[in-house]
């Protein structure tokens, strides 16, 4: 009935969020039942007023960083806010406009905002120590840049652990021309994880005990009950000092999972009219949580990934890693509430939100699915385990080396495997205590179903399903290949690239301006790492030729590889890091520099 921009207002409501005790922005609030019943001029006037306050548009936008007490669940906590809310206001721009974002810091410590996925001059990218000095207390900093793109993005602090404390919000950029895919209504669905424990305290606990937050470890009771691994596998994994339940560092044992600032009980609700095409703009603003997302009973058509248009592809569930965005279209036909389920990949918790034909309806809750176990493929043995493992149907290795003959038959001889074969490390990799394992036979996992969804009995999106709507502008073959290892010692909770933490002052990764380079990320750890490069999009080498999808963040599955082709076209110094915030803060971070050839 209305176009996207007008309909957007139907989701913007005044009123305090039940979940956050008054620090929810209007865009993220659920509709209030009494107001939505009439939807006439009176209600819309009220909404428009809210919209002006809560959705920020135009050539000049003012943001104020502050703080507020919040209570989610039973424990009081402390949030860092933007314009008084968590998540921050929705920033809505139009492709082709110029924008000035004036950010005022009312905290007692430095702050910053990084515009995640936006192509901006490096000095406005918002990373203290790389792009600019940061925003000091009681200072206002003006970011100014042209808006060169359309799509769904987000912003967050790049200072300290402020992002984990709530300093994030969505950015929607409307295209200069018509939307390539029609829709009748849209909702931003911003996922996050919240703990009342300060993120520095989370990190301290993990440094003291790597498995501190894992409350789903294997037990003797489980063995006797026939759950999880049989004894022989437990012994094999124990010999290697590897834990197949170590899927997420920080889990539902401390996290509350939120949709637009609402936990399941607060039930964020977005409205629809049956038969409408509803665009859901998913953003994962979590500090440490990859989610599996589904709307039980409703197919989703993915139309964007990381803000870039892709050829529409239908699926039933997708994994959204930290910092990724996915736009999907759903078309609910019946006048029944539909659940939006964002389940943490280690199945330690989930958040249920509702798409409803009218306010006040609650979609049924779903039970948590069984916690998955990691496999030899997650340990970097994917190139060996052709016979022994139960791999998901439909997986194929795009660039897998032929299986090692000695290990390809039957169960693996674990004793023969080297967990840390130094000959597999590229020159320059530092093999200190921070590198516990080197993947012995990592395979390209872009076509793999992600963690926990290997055996799901419905369609699951993989990176190999993504094809750019518009072919890449740069069709050159890469001039060189750069291999970067994602390295860790999960017991000591050390994280690095090529065994070197940022605190050890590694040289930046240097690129000539305009050169095209294939970057192959090799995950030597048993955790997924959403790797984010600032200032650029890169094409995933997923077999789609010139329709390779463009992304700003790629989730490299445990023990696997991912290749991306990068045209280094943005001059300056850029951050390159794992977007699991505690990994980044432990040193999994490099500077990428692009200089004139």
């Amino acid at each position: 009935m209305l176009d996207g921009r007008l309909n957007r207002r139907t989701m913007l409501r005044a009123g305090a969020g039940a979940a956050l005790g008054g620090v929810l922005p209007g865009w993220a609030a659920s509709p209030v039942q009494a107001m939505d019943r009439h939807g006439d001029g009176h209600g819309q006037a009220a909404n428009a007023a809210t919209a002006t306050r809560e959705v920020l548009s135009g050539a000049r936008i003012a943001l104020t960083i502050g703080q507020a007490p919040v209570r989610i669940g039973s424990q009081p906590g402390h949030a860092v806010t933007v314009n008084g809310t968590m998540p921050g206001p929705l920033i809505r721009l139009r492709e082709g406009q110029d924008v000035v974002l004036a950010v005022t810091n009312t905290l007692d410590v430095d702050t910053s905002i990084h515009w995640h996925g936006l192509l901006v001059p490096f000095q406005y990218d918002g990373v203290p120590g790389i792009s600019f000095p940061g925003i000091a207390p009681r200072q206002t900093f003006e970011y100014r840049f042209p808006v060169r793109q359309a799509g769904t993005y987000w912003y967050h602090s790049h200072s300290g652990m402020q992002e984990a404390m709530g300093l994030f919000g969505p950015i929607v950029i409307d295209p200069a021309g018509p939307e390539p895919v029609a829709f009748d209504r849209e909702h931003v669905v911003m996922l996050s994880d919240w703990s009342a424990v300060h993120p520095h305290a989370l990190l301290k606990r993990l440094k003291q005990m790597g498995g501190y937050y894992d409350r789903q470890k294997q037990t003797l009771a489980g063995l006797l009950a026939g759950r999880d691994q049989p004894l022989s596998e437990r012994l094999d994994w124990g010999r290697m000092r590897m834990d197949p339940t170590d899927i997420s560092d920080v889990t539902g044992s401390t996290y509350h999972y939120l949709v637009n600032g609402h936990d399941s009980a607060a039930n964020w609700t977005g409205l629809f009219t049956p038969g409408e095409r509803v665009r859901l703009r998913f953003v994962n603003a979590s500090a440490m949580t990859n989610f599996n997302v589904r709307l039980p009973g409703l197919a989703m058509t993915v139309i964007q990934a990381d803000g870039q248009d892709v050829e529409p592809v239908e699926t039933d569930e997708f994994q959204i890693a930290v910092a990724e965005t996915y736009d999907v279209i759903v078309t609910p036909q019946a006048a029944n509430p539909v659940a939006i389920i964002a389940e943490a990949i280690d199945r330690s918790g989930l958040c249920r939100a509702t798409l409803a034909p009218q306010p006040g309806l609650v979609a049924p809750m779903v039970p948590l699915r069984a916690r998955p176990l990691l496999t030899m493929r997650d340990m970097g043995m994917g190139g060996m385990d052709m016979a022994g493992m139960d791999m998901a149907a439909g997986t194929l290795d795009l660039s897998a080396p032929p299986p090692a003959p000695a290990a390809s038959a039957g169960h693996m001889d674990h004793g023969a495997m080297k967990m840390r074969d130094k000959s597999l490390a590229p020159p320059g990799m530092r093999l200190g205590p921070g590198v516990a394992t080197i993947s012995a036979a990592p395979v390209d996992r872009l076509a793999d179903r992600p963690t926990g969804l290997e055996d799901a009995d419905h369609r699951v999106l993989t990176y190999a399903d993504l094809r750019a709507r518009v072919p890449a502008a740069d069709r050159r073959a890469p001039g060189r290949e750069l291999e970067v290892h994602l390295t860790a010692n999960m017991e000591r909770y050390m994280w690095s690239f090529d065994g070197v933490k940022l605190s050890e002052n590694p040289a930046p990764l240097a690129f000539r301006e305009g050169e095209r380079v294939r970057v192959t990320l090799v995950n030597d750890t048993m955790m997924p790492h959403p790797i984010h490069l600032h200032g650029h999009f890169f094409e995933l080498v997923n077999g789609a030729d010139d329709k390779a999808p463009r992304k700003h963040t790629v989730n490299v599955l445990p023990g696997g590889k991912a290749s991306l082709d990068l045209t280094a076209d943005a001059r300056g110094d850029w951050a390159f890091h794992c977007h699991m915030l505690l990994h980044m803060h432990s040193g999994m971070f490099r500077v990428v520099t692009v200089r004139p050839a």
Binding site: V127, G129, P433, R475, A477, S503
Partner: protein, 287 residues
């Protein structure tokens, strides 16, 4: 601070050369991301050398940038942490006098180098401390799983006091065994050693059974301290703890302790018993 006034020098520094990408327009399939890396005409193995300067220094105040860089570096992997683990703080009821025992470890520092503290001791209620020791040292990670610890250990309690130089290897062995082996040389030149191993068996997520073994040995007899040469004592423990939270767990269990060889003979000669089985109850906590 305004960027407007500082942009001009950057433009001068970096120039405005267009991207030299058009000279490779003629290509053959496979193209795009299906092409192999290194297939370009000007293929090379290594990228350009890393520049020594920082791009943002040309835009913003270089001194402010230097401060921000130091802060970024320090927080991305350079933070110091600490831990104090009181592994055993226990009471051992007995027919005669009840006994008590403690064992605690602490560290402070970064990922590789840490200051280490260790203390342990035991005694009987209503009597002076039987034996106690405190060790302070340097803890250094030598590989993914093991640390060395070099320190100074001071003994307290019965007998003449001793100060030892201590060298320890500790870590996580295959199959998740916590192991530790120490060598001590006292200020009188006496050499002794200790080896320990323990394992945490999770019965459930919170109920953990910990078997533990310890063996002590001395290179030569030290009668003044009640030690014979060779193996001096052995200890086996089985403790069942319940983690109310990870940081706090009451436990109960059994501890079997036995003085060995010449050490046992010295004890019997002094009218002490040479060990036995005891019930124990205590708390394990850390922060």
């Amino acid at each position: 601070m305004s960027a407007r006034h500082l942009c001009a020098p950057l433009l001068l520094v970096l120039g405005a050369a267009p991207v030299g990408a058009q000279d490779m327009a003629h290509h053959h399939a496979p193209a795009g991301t299906d092409a192999a890396a290194g297939a370009a005409p000007a293929a090379e193995t290594f990228g350009p050398p890393a520049p020594a300067d920082h791009a943002a220094d040309a835009v913003w105040d270089p001194a402010a940038m230097a401060r921000a860089r130091r802060a970024l570096t320090a927080e991305a992997g350079g933070m110091t942490q600490s831990m104090l683990l009181v592994d055993q703080l226990e009471w051992q009821p007995a027919r005669g006098a009840d006994a008590y025992r403690w064992e605690a470890k602490g560290w402070w520092g970064g990922d590789i180098d840490r200051v280490a503290l260790e203390t342990r001791g035991e005694g009987e209620t209503g009597a002076p401390l039987d034996q106690g020791e405190v060790e302070v040292g340097w803890l250094h990670a030598i590989d993914p799983w093991f640390n060395v610890r070099a320190g100074v250990r001071q003994d307290f309690g019965k007998g003449p006091a001793r100060t030892h130089a201590a060298l320890t290897i500790e870590g996580l062995a295959p199959y998740w065994f916590d192991v530790e082996a120490s060598l001590f040389v006292s200020n009188k030149g006496e050499v002794s050693a200790r080896a320990e191993a323990s394992y945490d068996q999770r019965l459930t997520q919170r109920l953990i059974l910990q078997p533990r073994a310890e063996l002590n040995a001395a290179a030569s007899a030290v009668p003044a301290r009640g030690l014979g040469s060779g193996p001096t004592s052995a200890e086996l423990g089985l403790r069942l703890r319940y983690e109310i939270v990870r940081e706090f767990a009451p436990y109960a269990g059994l501890a079997w302790e036995r003085k060995l060889g010449g050490t046992a003979r010295l004890a019997r000669a002094a009218g002490e018993d040479s060990g036995g089985l005891r019930a124990v109850a205590g708390v394990r906590f850390w922060f």
